[in-house]
Symmetry: C2
Subunit: 358 residues, 2 copies
DNA sequence: GTTAGCACTCCCCGCCTTAGAGTGCTAATA
DNA sequence: TATTAGCACTCTAAGGCGGGGAGTGCTAAC
């Protein structure tokens, strides 16, 4: 693919930027006259029209109908995000207000990452006026810090799993054997020695190998320990948090109820969302997916900005913003970036001393 | 207030029922001609018109405009729910399908009530096509089964709280003292002896009294135990689960985006919802709130059906359905009823042996 | 007490018109 | 040769108009 940048002269770029900038602020097709006026071009509308026609030929702009102004295409936004945004937009504020409000709201939640992520999406959505989204660390983002076994009733024990990321998972297991408290302590000690410091995914793999290698080899307590542990790590998965529906409904693109239905169906399907987001989980830095670049059919009219937050230097989970393709990319991107860094910092403060050397 | 029932003769009641029945199935104003045809009355439309005019005078029906048919008022629905529903509607199915799907989906979740309630709302909404709602037990609905203290890092301990209702709450406390594992065990034993079997609310009250009575009296370990416990019970609250937005958006009453916005704002405000639902938490059996009977401004166009599920014989939390006033009350009520009973049964199976005699 | 008949009301829908915004093309201009 | 003014053309959004239809309330007859 040739570099689009080369196809465009300075003037075309300015016009493209103007159209996008205008359209982001106000979803009316942008006319040539408006561009000359508002953006103080030294050309007449007629010239701008010619340029716009060229931009349309190249696929950066489109017309809803003949004799309407132009609106950006996904390709147009893409070009904007990659080439124009940083150099042409006046710098957005340093997001002090966001950091403030994150700090204030999340202060007491450091140790409970689910509530923390939930609050994060709320903050993201009120600041961006789009949907805020967060995904908690999955099996390969979570590192086991510690596992505890607690007798719960005559035939049940509670398994509690602490991770470095602040996730605390619990599961009650119906066990047919009656373990003594002493047995449980032994098993827990064994499991902690063996597995703490590894990711859930690694533990899964390890358990799998162990089982496969030789069942007879393990003494019975160890094999029971492994099976307890297996039950819990087996159902370990990511959680999704999404909020800000009432924010995003204020946008004119959602004045059509059909659109709203589509959106609500999409965000109620957590599985699809997890799948989508997980595919971005290992990318460095802020990811931008614009409109039809998206793989989910119902989201082809939306854009997604995400970034991973980390625990140590390992990607843990994802935060982001979902909005219309006509999104304020510039500020959304920096919002997401700042938020991800903030979460990384919080995790860092909690968990450093526990990281296992490898 | 005089009993409305006395004001209406047999014939008026039949007409009222017909209007409501028809309107529930199809939100078009109901005309006199339609009633005679569809509901096989032995009278002419003119007679029905007279009756309808009377019903309107009495406040059971209203007209969107002159020369439109009638639609039920909140008072009309109230009369329907209280007097007509059971005797006149053909019995709804015994909800075997619902029980089936509840059983299937909730089988593995008995011990984790949050996931269980969340899934319950999903099931409720797919079966009713309205919003499913569930509220987890609050401080006076939860009975402490057991408390565990676990060292978490050098300066933090994890407090884990098990309740009879299957709630597992955890909180990481930064403690300035370094407790030994032994100390923690002692403290936990003390707390369990003292508090298990009591509701969180009672424990709160008790802690409060204890503190007030005499601080000096307690030896230092006990006072620390109480303060640990206090930190955790202090932040114990209900959780709300709501789902089915995409279901309810299919209804014609939500073809107006303003209505949708209002709805989404309402259900995002968990606090208001909890407050509303909590006020019903101690009522026996199924509660029905119709339209403007509601105290929340934004919900005056909606009806709410709720019932409490119990742990033993003590009300624990609330499940319900939120829909338009034009709701299929008959089936909604039995759905909610069945669901609440189901949850009660599940809780019963898990927790009986732990109830403290008083 | 019930009903047929009838005039009346009001909404909904399709149709038309108009105003306005914006385009593309062409010919004139610097 | 690049730019621009002028102009005819296109398309939408909004408002006005009129007929059809559904339903009512009233009156007088049964």
């Amino acid at each position: 693919m040739p570099d689009d940048r080369d196809m465009l002269d300075e003037r075309s770029i300015k016009v493209l930027w103007a159209v996008i900038h205008s359209y982001i602020n106000n979803p009316d097709p942008v006319g040539s006259r408006y561009v000359t006026r508002k953006y103080a071009f030294d050309f007449s509308p007629a010239t701008i029209r010619n340029i716009m026609a060229d931009l349309e030929d190249m696929g950066f702009l489109s017309q809803p109908h003949t004799s309407a102004g132009r609106i950006p295409t996904d390709k147009g936004y893409r070009f904007y995000v990659e080439n124009l945004m940083e150099e042409m937009d006046e710098k957005v504020s340093s997001h002090e207000e966001l950091i403030d409000s994150l700090t204030r709201r999340l202060e007491d939640l450091r140790e409970d990452i689910y509530t923390l992520l939930d609050e994060t999406t709320r903050t993201l959505s009120t600041h961006s006026h789009y949907l805020g989204i967060a995904v908690s660390p999955g099996p390969d983002g979570s590192t086991l810090r510690r596992i505890e076994l607690i007798p719960y009733s005559d035939d049940r024990i509670a398994v509690i799993l602490f991770t470095n990321e602040g996730i605390i998972k619990h599961k009650i297991l119906k066990n047919s054997f009656a373990f003594s408290r002493n047995d449980l302590n032994k098993i827990a000690r064994y499991l902690n020695r063996e597995f703490s410091g590894y990711t859930i995914k690694e533990i899964r793999q390890c358990l799998f190998d162990e089982m496969a290698r030789d069942k007879a080899l393990c003494d019975s307590l160890i094999s029971k320990a492994l099976s307890l542990c297996g039950d819990v790590v087996a159902c370990y998965g990511s959680n999704v948090f999404i909020s800000g529906l009432s924010e995003i409904l204020e946008l004119p693109e959602f004045s059509d109820v059909e659109k709203v239905k589509e959106l609500s169906r999409t965000i109620e399907d957590k599985h699809a969302v997890i799948k989508l987001i997980d595919s971005l989980a290992n990318e460095e830095g802020v990811q931008v997916i614009i409109g039809a670049e998206n793989t989910i059919e119902e989201m082809k009219a939306l854009s997604i900005i995400t970034s991973t937050y980390k625990e140590g230097d390992k990607p843990a989970g994802v935060v982001g913003i979902i909005g219309p393709t006509r999104m304020d990319y510039s500020s959304a991107i920096s919002l997401v970036d700042v938020t991800a860094r903030f979460l990384t910092k919080i995790l860092d403060e909690g968990g450093r001393q526990w990281r296992r050397e490898r």
